[in-house]
């Protein structure tokens, strides 16, 4: 159940080598504030590992997403991983993997599923108790 820290360390160094050339590179911006940010981050790296695009394409896409934010969209607060997500969707669309409309449709489906769809009962007592012995 415990990870090999060396293996994890090596894996992390490989990812860091990828992201160190990206814009918006300071450590505070890179910190994950929400679980979705880490999922989006991981997906971009996984899709790249899968050969869906060159890393340089993602890099350019991210630069462009950030530039668009800088040039307009007044009032939108800075969110590094929103740009990241925009960049990921763009680079996937450019490579014909999926379209914006597809993602929109699926997103509506996700939002339409009640969050308690399959697990709605609150259990207010412990589900197991192992009493003190002796």
């Amino acid at each position: 159940m415990r990870s090999d820290t060396t293996e994890l360390g090596d894996a992390r160094r490989r990812v860091e080598a990828l992201v160190c050339d990206l814009p918006g590179g300071n450590v505070d911006e890179r910190m994950f504030a929400e679980p979705w940010e880490l999922r989006a981050f991981s997906m971009a790296v996984a899709a790249y590992h899968n050969g869906k695009y060159e890393w340089s394409e993602f890099q350019l896409s991210l630069i462009q997403a950030i530039r668009q934010w800088e040039e307009g969209n007044a009032g939108e607060p800075w969110s590094y991983y929103e740009h990241w997500l925009t960049a990921l969707e763009s680079v996937l669309a450019d490579n014909g993997v999926l379209s914006d409309a597809d993602v929109d449709a699926r997103t509506r489906e996700v939002l339409a599923v009640p969050r308690n769809a399959n697990h709605h009962e609150a259990h207010r007592e412990p589900v197991a108790v192992s009493p003190a012995r002796g």
Binding site: E34, E89, V97, V103, R106, V110, L111, R115, S130, A132
Partner: protein
Amino acid sequence: MAPTDTPLRTQAEIAARVKALESMLIEKGIMTTEAIDRLAEIYENEVGPQLGAQVVARAWTDPEFKARLLADASAACAEMGIGGLQGEEMVVVENTDAVHNAIVCTLCSCYPWPVLGLPPNWYKAPAYRSRIVREPRKVLAEDFGFPVPDDVEVRIWDSSSELRYWVLPQRPAGTEHLGAFELAALVTRDSMIGVGPVGTP
């Protein structure tokens, strides 16, 4: 193009979009859940658990806050600017000399992620979800190397989408001189799940 033209999206909408994207890429065989989990695992300790650790450290140093935390964890966490997106109710269960608590989600992987970040893979695995309920002492001792003394009762709490539990571990001995910042550094993710100890100074 992605919808940069839409006005402010809520965090819940963005989270749904990420989920949608992930499910589509998996269906298309572009990546596997395992590959994403594996990458996420590299960073998972950087999301979340430090927020829970701050809450625990404050509870250890501020008895009135602790009382509020145990009475209404969602409200107490909100005081510190920590909260869920969908208003799930959170309940904190306190470890004492007589009772040790641990959490599980028996049906899926409900987890108090606003305070603990992403669940570790083993938390989502069927083995943990079933065995921690059937033989909690054995799982804690054998799988986690964290035996609970015989004279301490073990309680296992089942989280759901409505109600998410997490554990307030006991403040370790010999930390009377430490401030909240140093105390928070001792609080581990596993100690808030109830499957591991807090650190020692």
